[in-house]
Amino acid sequence: MEHAVVGRNIPRVEGPAKVTGACLYTADLIRRDALWGGFVRSPYPHARIAGIDASRALALSGVRAVITGKDIPMLLYGLAVRDKPVLARDVVRYVGEKVAAVAAVDEAALEEALALIRVEYEELPAVFDPLEALRAGAPVIHPDYRSYEMAGIEVRGTSATTDIVGSFFGPFNMEPGRHNVQSLWRIGKGELEQGFAESDHIFEHSFSTQIVHQAFLEPRACVVEIDREGRVDITCSNQSSFTVRKGLARYAGIAEDRIRVHPVAVGGSFGGKEGYEEVLATYDLARACGLPVKIVEHYAEELMDGEPRHAAVVKVRTGVKKDGRFWAWDGKVFYNGGAYAARTPFIANMNGTLRLAGGYRTPHVRIESFVIYTNQLPTGYFRAPGEVQTLFGVESHVDMMADALGRDRLELRLQNVVRPGDTLPSGEPLRDPSGVEVLERIAEVSGWGHARPAASRPHLAAGRGLAFGHRHIGAGETNVELFVEADGSLRLVVSVRDQGVGANTMHQQVTAEIMGTSPDRIRIDVRGTDGPYDEGVRAGRGVHIEGRAVGHAASAMIELLRRKAAAHWKVPFEDTAWQNAGVHHTGSAKRLGLQDMARLFRDEPLRTGGHFKAGKSDYYDFQAIIADVEVDQETGEIRVRQLYYVLDVTAVINPMLHQGQIEGGIIQGLGHTLMEQLVIEDGRVVNLHLGDYRIPTMGDVPPLSISLVKSKEGPGIFNAKSVAEVGISIVAPAIANAVCDATGVRIRDLPLTAEKILNGLRALQAR
């Protein structure tokens, strides 16, 4: 079907505000009377708090309140697992943990107060390595683990065939001898041991990935005001207004309807703004002072106490038949969850676990995922959570197997890639997979097997690397409301705060397409918690969850208007039709346009709602990437010369926004691959500013050619598939494979630094 608006690059609804500086973010909300809030943080990775002396701070004229763990509700905080006090009570479990909160009249007074608060600690033994933490005898970081509760988010994304052992969290994790497990997830199909017994070759490799930060450029911030009647007014940089409201209501013991969260713009989240701990602490400060309090974290606080991506150790063992068929697959991943599970949503585990056997049709599979407590900063979700880690291992491993088997790396993948009728390695059902088409296309666009890029200088070695992946399409729940305004224009009310993906533009485009109007006749009215319920932005759910909800509202509006027109004309509903943004009477020339009806039915509400809620769909995005690199053999420096990327799509609502998601995801992946890492010494992050935590700049991005493969079906509105979390996960294995192709050096731990590669080259020469 031809679309009029869908598929066009209509400009973003918030464009003018964003290019003129008019767009408001949390820190822009100036309240002259708002106090500045801030935190005293632990310098120790694990210690008992022996005492806190705030007398000198409280003596300062500019200080309004100092609160500690003893002054706040006893409730523990957590998105999936409630295991974290908002302010440490008796024990601190990581460097940077909040120990006390201060409110002062200005930043200078705040800084001085923070420096004057004396906390006495008794150090405790700490553990940082997740594998050590598992061992008997390791310090137990949460002796009260059994008493913790799930935050009540039901476990999703598991089908009948997946074998969830026990729960993701809870008593099961406390089996004798098992230490410091936040969450364990075991999935699979077939008979693993039999599978290995039937295999001709067995390959086993292990890999590790580093801890990386979302590095959005807006550090988290919030403003909390409590009025005299106890109504709470919140502005915060967060992915879900309603989650914040629910969490504060529980924490403060007040009704949700007393709390209002405003829909300001969010300066990037990428999964890293799910948590709202600082909102709870700020609420406590505001209550203690009887004045609005505002917290704008320094970037250093973001880096030492954010929700970064879990570092991980990935182990894969694969049994392969003589002819190259993958026959048995045993994957284990150990995610370093840091000191608390509190910041990991849903299941305290990673959907990326489900990628631990790749997108291949292996019959016998077992996947195990441990998320482990250590005395490091708590980790959370970051674009394609858990998957960047697993796919780095899997796709490096597949290349290593291909080389050992003497097989072409692309051809071996083609032989094993999931096809229609297969289930995924996890046992999950799969519809309309296009892995074959995607692999064939990347071969075609990159000239795989033909021309290889030659080194441009003698001391450089050229190589080419491939990686392949599939990505689930996000789940969730949202509601929207659609109104016909007095002037006949449309107003769509949504509670989805655009984090940058262009959600509101997509909403506008979908409404316009279905209603047959031009987009500029539709105003997007973005609300906070006084809008219709929305579960929160995450996991590339936009076109699936939001798109379908918007679609329902628009279709319902058409039906409503047809009914009203039919009643007005006194004709049967069946004799009416919707055409060119108006109702037609099929039996005559009678027509009512939106403006006519707005006038005609002015006394009746022209409002419809749209709701959509779904779990993970059985459709997946399929993607492949090829990296052409040059490695300087004297220095180990990598230069990425060219990236080719292929993704399967159905309908693309807005090509420019769609492309922007791919480009952004791939360059975040490039950063993870080559430069990004929170460097942690004895549990302390030592690179605490963006001069030391480097992310890619415009000077670093290679040429990127994107090619889209058409697939038939998708779960989203107009059949669309998601795009927000693709790209990022397969950059690292592609570049690692390219480096190995160029030099023979196989790097198994991210990031791929020049120094590691040079050491690898020296080791090869030594042989």
Binding site: T697, P751, L758
Partner: protein
């Protein structure tokens, strides 16, 4: 940031007088890109700041006889873009053109950069290779010292608390001089270097190396002159073999410490590689030099 008194003297004398009066209590402020960060981090808490921005003529770049005089408050960007610098001292504009980002180069000043004495900086390397000296001025008088003698330790120079670095004096290189600058940033083009190298080679009529200068950054507590290598080159024909051997010799002269841009061992190895590359590039340019 802690509170402080702010002074913006309208003359150099006034600035020197303030420094003399307040000594260690006062800090000079030029571009501020180094000092303000330290102040925000509370690592430096001066009671007074003395800004040089209203001191006239301190940003001047001028040719005086056989030397180029670069005023202390000339910005990195001004030096980079100056046609005179491009023509007379291409190395200087090349090096300043590699510092940080355009925006920081618009703010940071020549004098501020040298006084900050951060061993990861690029500009000192150029001045070392060009045998530049700095003029230090105080109410007690003036002195001129070689840039070679300016740096003592991390962020530490020979400047007395009451002294102002007013200008850098750079003698114009003789004909037959070739220079080159190499900055190794393996992970992003906007990073601090793992190592950076500036080289200057001058040939005599017979084609022998009459003077060799080699300076390295990010590999010690101060910028480092590679004197052994310089000596090996001086008086000899610049064969590829000799350039390689000279480069090899810097490994022993350096004492880098491991940091986020590489281990001590890696920095030492890279210093050798980029010294060789810088020497080769400089040698190739000796012919072309005016």
């Amino acid at each position: 940031m802690r509170a402080f008194e702010y002074h913006a003297p309208a003359s150099l004398d006034e600035a020197q007088e303030l420094l003399a009066r307040h000594g260690d209590e006062a800090k000079l402020l030029a571009g501020g890109t180094g000092l303000i960060i330290l102040m925000k981090q509370l690592l430096v808490q001066p009671a007074r700041l003395v800004s040089l921005r209203k001191v006239p003529a301190l940003e001047r770049i001028a040719r005086v006889n056989g030397a180029l005089h670069v005023g202390a408050t000339a910005t990195h960007r001004a030096v980079e873009m100056s046609p005179m610098v491009r023509e007379l001292l291409p190395l200087l504009s090349e090096v300043y053109g590699h510092v940080a980002t355009v925006r920081i180069r618009e703010m940071a000043t020549v004098g501020g950069g040298l006084a900050h004495a951060d061993p990861t900086q690029d500009s000192p390397l150029a001045f070392l290779v060009l045998d530049a000296s700095v003029r230090l001025s105080s109410s007690r008088g003036q002195r001129t010292i070689a840039v070679d003698g300016l740096f003592l330790d991390h962020y530490t120079t020979v400047l007395e608390p009451d002294e102002v670095l007013t200008e850098v004096l750079v003698p114009l290189p003789d004909p037959g001089t070739g220079t080159a600058f190499m900055k190794f940033q393996p992970h992003t083009v906007a990073d601090y270097p793992t190592v950076s190298v500036a080289a200057g080679l001058s040939l005599d009529e017979s084609g022998r190396c009459r003077k060799a200068r080699l300076a390295l950054g990010s590999v010690g507590s101060t910028p480092v002159r590679a004197r052994t290598a310089e000596a090996m080159l001086t008086g000899n024909r610049l064969t590829p073999q000799l350039l390689g051997d000279a480069a090899q010799s810097v490994a022993q002269e350096l004492d880098p410490i491991s940091d986020l841009r590489g281990s001590a061992d890696y920095k030492r190895k890279m210093a050798v590689v980029f010294t060789r590359r810088a020497l080769e590039a400089a040698a190739a340019r000796t012919g072309k030099a005016a």
